[in-house]
């Protein structure tokens, strides 16, 4: 930290990421609020606890192995190379704890490693962990009121600490093999966070089955409205707010994007490609606007779907929001929101999928279509700054087929298939779904029973006290 400019760059980056983590925490608060608002009163507490405990279950597993996957698996492994050495991310490494950046104790580390990672490892880990919680929370809402919490937490660990972070290594790392070979571009995670979570969601829903009473005997769906629309809307507002932090965390705030030919400081996207915070501010706002307006019209002013439309609009544009024109972002958001709204009700009627919060559509289909849209709108763009990363031979450019293949990998290969296999295994061991009686009575039945018993006891004591002569 002896060079003044470099020290400021590292310290600013550390502070910037720390703030994004605080902002992104609101996503989790929003998901919990939203989910409780959707669930019926008889299952509120179980619903809240289910999503809250994503924090430790994914948090600990992400510390133990998830963070290491991101840096070590960029080549597949076995596609463009082997496992990449990433000592700083090994849970037993000194850089996975409090460190001042000076002389390393571990012989595998160099002073350059400690200089860079002592201040950035924890905040990068934290930002990626917050993305992990988001992927798991997306699944949480769709399976409410009938899933066993323990099953969900195992699914959350698989998605949050294994599959999503592997897809991030493949398609959301400057040197990921999908970036190199497919020209995959997904700047703000339409595919790597949302499509994969939607794919997992769909797989779990198939094995889990619908809530009791969701479908009539003739197979037509009943609408189970949110228990508390106010809470749902406030939850979605909180998710919007946290989403600003999510976008910020997908950027490196200050980086020399012109090495070897003078110095040019700029913010970059996750691929280290130059962009500006202004650009993403324009596009975030306009894609939110497009989504809200389309959601309002297509749902005939339904508050729940209007808010969800806003969220889906941002998700639909996230893959290209570093480069789109704001009006392009607005229009792409509006078109995709109409499509995903129709898809939600089509899959419900056609396949009897009971997705309580519309997560497969809002995250999965919007993310998938958003990745595909980049292939057409940004056709021919470099997917990442290969020359900046020291590669003489240019990597693949953005194409419709590269993006389509990327969307398939995200939604189906890493999202649906592992989600289906794990939920199927849990189902075989009777670990996936709560007993029918408990589902009917509500997941909070035991809490209410205890409360009623205690209340009766207190009433009895009070009655006896009133009847007893004063001492």
């Amino acid at each position: 930290m002896s060079d003044g400019i470099t020290a400021l760059q590292v310290l600013f980056t550390e502070t910037y990421y720390w703030i994004t983590i605080v902002m992104m925490f609101l996503i989790h608060v929003g998901f919990c609020t939203y989910e409780v608002g959707v669930s019926r009163r008889k299952s509120h507490l179980a619903t809240l606890l289910k999503n809250t405990m994503v924090i430790p279950t994914v948090g600990v597993s992400f510390y133990l192995f998830g963070w290491w996957f991101y840096s070590s698996m960029v080549n597949g492994p076995g596609i463009t190379g082997g496992l990449v050495t990433a000592h700083f991310a090994e849970p037993w490494n000194e850089l996975m704890g409090a460190h001042m950046g000076g002389k390393p104790v571990n012989p595998n580390l160099t002073p350059a490693d400690t200089f860079l990672w002592a201040r950035l490892n924890g905040v990068f880990f934290g930002a990626f962990l917050l993305f992990s919680w988001t992927t798991a929370s997306i699944v949480s809402g769709s399976i409410i009121e009938r899933v066993k919490s323990g099953a969900f937490w195992l699914i959350a660990v698989m998605l949050g600490s294994v599959t999503w972070i592997i897809d991030a290594a493949w398609g959301w790392h400057p040197a990921g093999w999908m970036v190199q070979l497919l020209g995959y571009h997904d700047a703000y995670a339409s595919g790597v966070v949302h499509a994969i979570a939607g794919g997992t969601c769909l797989a779990v829903l198939i094995n889990l089955g619908p809530r009791i009473g969701k479908f009539r005997s003739d197979g037509s769906p009943r609408n189970i409205p949110p228990q508390n629309v106010w809470l749902v809307c406030i939850g979605l507002f909180l998710i919007y707010t946290g989403f600003w932090g999510f976008y910020a965390a997908c950027n490196i705030p200050i980086y020399d994007v012109q090495p070897g030919d003078g110095v040019f400081w700029s913010a970059t996207n996750i691929y280290l490609q130059a962009t500006t915070l202004s650009a993403i501010t324009f596009n975030f706002i306009m894609s939110l606007c497009g989504g809200l307006m389309a959601g309002y019209i297509v749902s005939k002013a339904d508050a729940y779907w209007t808010f969800s439309g806003g969220l889906a609009g941002v998700i639909a544009c996230s893959a290209g929001n570093d480069l789109y024109h704001p009006i392009q972002a607005m229009l792409i958001a509006a078109v995709i929101v109409v499509i995903i709204y129709k898809l939600h009700y089509w899959q419900e009627k056609r396949f009897k999928i009971d997705d309580a919060v519309g997560a497969v559509a809002v995250h999965g289909y919007a993310g998938f279509l958003g990745v595909v849209a980049v292939g057409f709108v940004l056709w021919g763009y470099p997917a990442s700054p290969d020359a900046l990363l020291g590669h003489a031979t240019p990597w693949a450019r953005v194409t419709p087929w590269g993006q389509f293949a990327g969307a398939i990998i995200m939604f189906w290969v890493l999202g649906f298939i592992p989600g289906y296999v794990l939920s199927w295994i849990l189902k075989q061991f009777n670990l996936l779904r709560v007993p029918r009686e408990v589902e009917l009575a509500g997941l909070d039945y035991h809490v209410f029973e205890t409360m009623v018993q205690e209340d009766q006891e207190i009433q009895t004591v009070l009655k006896e006290a009133r009847l007893a002569p004063a001492e």
Partner: protein, 78 residues
């Protein structure tokens, strides 16, 4: 007794590396964390299954299930 490498905050900061206690014990700590994490999932699943089965048994008796469903719409229940 000194649990960490820090004996003095004065001097060249570039000589200071890890500042947590028990440097060198990271591998055993990771093993403990792993056992704690796996053990938690095991205990949680056992506990949840036992509780759900007990509730289901109770609800199968008499008209307990009907009473529970009827109570869903009782505003005093919350």
């Amino acid at each position: 007794m000194n649990t960490g490498n820090i004996t003095d905050w004065n001097g060249n900061m570039m000589d200071i590396g890890p500042i947590y206690p028990f440097v060198g014990w990271e591998v055993p700590m990771v093993i403990i964390a792993f056992i704690f994490w796996i053990g938690w999932h095991y205990l949680q699943i056992q506990m949840e299954n036992r509780q759900l089965e007990a509730e289901a048994q109770k609800l199968r008796q008499g008209d307990n299930l009907q009473k529970a469903i009827a109570a869903e719409h009782n505003p005093e229940r919350m």
